[in-house]
């Protein structure tokens, strides 16, 4: 029981879809992660019937779906812009889809009231959307999408335009709210790895209109199919270091020699790309030297961006760490945590660290 997209192609307009195939299972929340303009929104619009793919098909529970018009599809969508009906008040906005479905007046009242209550909007029922804050407007949009109990619910980066605090709050609400819709198909677009990991039962990684990897969030995180996937699903992005395997050593960047872990023994000597998460680099005296290019404190962590012999790197350090621009740093690499990717297009995964070792 699922929504299946098969070889969707869309070449007019940007972003394209490129032979995109994916399965979205019923009762699960699938997060679609990809950079801006990766084709996430386009995919949703095709699923919703708002845009026509050049070729390819959609089937829902085995039955053809692509021939239905948007208004026949039972799809609800929440846009990243806060889209509501400007001429209707909050109550009528949420009641709108129910009125169309000819739900009885008293039921509408009950359902809408309950929904508004749940989303903390009860006090604003009489207001126009334009009189609400961005977060409240997006809640109204969400309420309207949820109240329908639509078969397919599409959430297109719903929190991206909100400030940090509201984003956290609304994201928490999603987890509980979406549980009430678990008989349907839920797809959630995001550019943020943490959001994708936290919300998704399934993860789909999209890049330039094609699917790079599908799987459980943890699996994708542990075993990214390629260097490209690793870059997309890590925040800060995984360090990708060019290098070679030479005998018992790894020669990385501008000739930094590192011991080769036993895990790499099956790999022939030659050029590779090595992946290293930011928290697998650390500060250490007499390590690999570099100069700080940028540093940011996020919560209780500090990210130090530096130009080193390994190339441009980002290091995650616990605690607040003052690293002035241009100052010297010295880094250590946890070699056991290195990913090895092939030195080809996307950088196919050849070896990933064992679980628990990272």
């Amino acid at each position: 029981m699922s929504l299946v997209a098969q070889s969707l192609e869309l070449t007019r307009g940007v972003p394209h879809l490129n032979a995109l195939s994916a399965t979205f299972e019923r009762g699960k929340l699938t997060t679609v992660i990809g950079r801006t303009l990766a084709g996430k929104t386009t995919l949703m619009r095709v699923i919703a019937g708002l845009q026509n793919a050049d070729s390819g098909t959609l089937t829902l529970d085995g039955k053809p779906f692509s021939t239905h018009a948007a208004w026949q599809r039972d799809v609800a969508m929440v846009y990243q812009q806060f889209i509501n009906y400007p001429h209707l008040n909050v109550f009528e906005n949420v009641a709108f889809p129910l009125r169309k479905k000819r739900v009885a007046g008293t039921d509408i009242k009950l359902q809408v009231r309950a929904m508004l209550e749940q989303l903390g909007l009860a006090a604003f029922a009489e207001r126009r959307p334009s009189q609400l804050s961005g977060g409240q407007q997006q809640r109204v949009a969400l309420a309207r999408a949820l109240v329908r109990k639509a078969d397919i619910l599409l959430l297109d980066e719903p929190v991206v335009n909100l400030d940090y605090k509201l984003r956290e709050q609304l994201r928490d609400d999603f987890r509980s709210l979406l549980k009430t819709q678990r008989q349907g198909i839920i797809i959630y677009n995001t550019t943020e790895p943490s959001e994708a990991m936290m919300l998704g039962d399934q993860l789909v990684v999209v890049h330039e209109g094609r699917i790079l990897q599908t799987g459980l969030p943890a699996t994708v995180f542990e075993q990214p199919a390629s260097a490209l996937v690793a870059a997309i699903i890590n925040d800060p992005p995984m360090n990708i270091i060019a290098g070679h395997l030479v005998g018992k050593h790894i020669v990385a960047g501008d000739g930094v020699r590192l011991p080769k872990p036993a895990r790499f023994n099956g790999l022939a000597d030659g050029a590779y790309r090595f992946g290293l998460r930011a928290h697998d680099l650390s500060l250490k005296n007499n390590g690999i030297p570099g100069k700080v290019t940028f540093s940011e404190v996020s919560g209780s962590e500090t990210f130090i961006h530096a130009k080193t012999a390994l190339g441009q790197t980002v290091t995650q350090v616990a605690g607040v760490h003052i690293a002035p621009l241009g100052s010297d740093v010295s880094l250590a690499v946890a070699t056991e945590s290195l990913f090895v990717f092939a030195n080809d297009g996307d950088g196919r995964l050849l070896s990933a660290p064992n679980r628990g070792q990272r």
Partner: protein
């Protein structure tokens, strides 16, 4: 927005209006072209084919070419005056002025009035002995002028009426443009210490260039149809001194019933107008947008 199942709706939105306009406009236009190739006149009505004979006659018709030239001069001249005045007025009531809204309404009124009807009133005003124009100018020692009987003053009179009627239109578009302008460039200019004149030439005028071009082109299109004011105010006279292309076609077609020839005249008129307007539009865009600093 290319969607499943929308083809029917897509066509039902556009087609009614499109087909109605096509039927009402395209048929007459094609018909006029056909008529222009016929010898239709008061004596022998009908579509008797004469080839391009009418067009050859148009070519040698100096009265027509003079009226075309006169029309171009009057249209360009009056539109330029309207633009300068309209811009000045819009600037005057744009910001801090007492009774701003009253003056805005007042300045808009002429474009709401029926041009021919107001032209009839203007005719009484410009009456050489009974009208107030010469009377009031006499108080300050000017005139009397032969508003409607001397060639030069008749042209001036027509242009004045056009300016009275249509400056409000320029005013409206430019004021709407001014009101919608962002604040930041003006703040930046103020911080740079630019005076009102420099602010106008460096900020206001360039920012309004697109609106200006639009407004001028719309007005030129309308002005190039000039006929009603001429008909009421001077009937093309004295002699043919104020005869515009449209008015000449009117005389040939609907007064002399030389329909085939009038049709050839109107097609020539239309084609020349479209060429000139396109040229002017291109030049305006080039000069007002082309040499922008950015």
């Amino acid at each position: 927005m290319d969607q499943i199942g929308t083809r029917f709706y897509k066509l039902s939105f556009l087609l009614p209006g499109f087909l109605v306009l096509l039927a009402i406009i395209l048929f007459p236009l094609l018909f006029t072209i056909r008529v222009s190739l016929s010898g239709w006149d008061a004596i022998t009505p009908g579509l008797g084919w004469v080839g391009i004979k009418n067009y050859l006659n148009v070519f040698g018709d100096t009265r027509f070419w003079q009226s075309m030239l006169r029309l171009s001069g009057m249209a360009v001249g009056s539109v330029l005056i309207q633009y300068v005045l309209g811009f000045a007025l819009a600037l005057l009531v744009w910001r801090d002025i007492k009774y701003k809204r009253f003056f805005r309404v007042l300045f808009l009124i002429p474009m709401m009035t029926t041009p021919v009807i107001m032209t009839v009133i203007w005719r009484t005003i410009l009456h050489e002995s009974l009208g107030p124009a010469n009377d009031l100018l006499g108080v300050v020692g000017l005139g009397p002028y032969q508003w409607l009987t001397s060639p030069a003053w008749s042209i001036a009179a027509i242009m004045m009426v056009e300016v009275w009627q249509w400056t409000p239109f320029m005013f409206l578009l430019l004021l709407a443009g001014l009101i919608s302008l962002p604040r930041e460039p003006f703040l930046a200019a103020a911080i740079d210490g630019a005076g009102p004149i420099r602010t106008f030439f460096n900020v206001t005028f360039p920012l309004l260039a697109p609106v200006s071009i639009g407004a001028i082109i719309i007005r030129l299109i309308e002005a190039s149809k000039l006929i009603e004011t001429v008909y009421v105010l001077t009937s093309g006279g004295p002699g043919t001194a104020t005869e515009t292309a449209g008015y000449y076609v009117y005389i040939k077609g609907l007064r002399d019933f030389d329909i085939g020839y009038a049709a050839a005249l109107s097609i020539t008129y239309l084609v020349i107008m479209m060429i000139l307007l396109t040229l002017i539009a291109k030049l305006l865009v080039k000069f007002m947008l082309g040499d922008k600093p950015q």
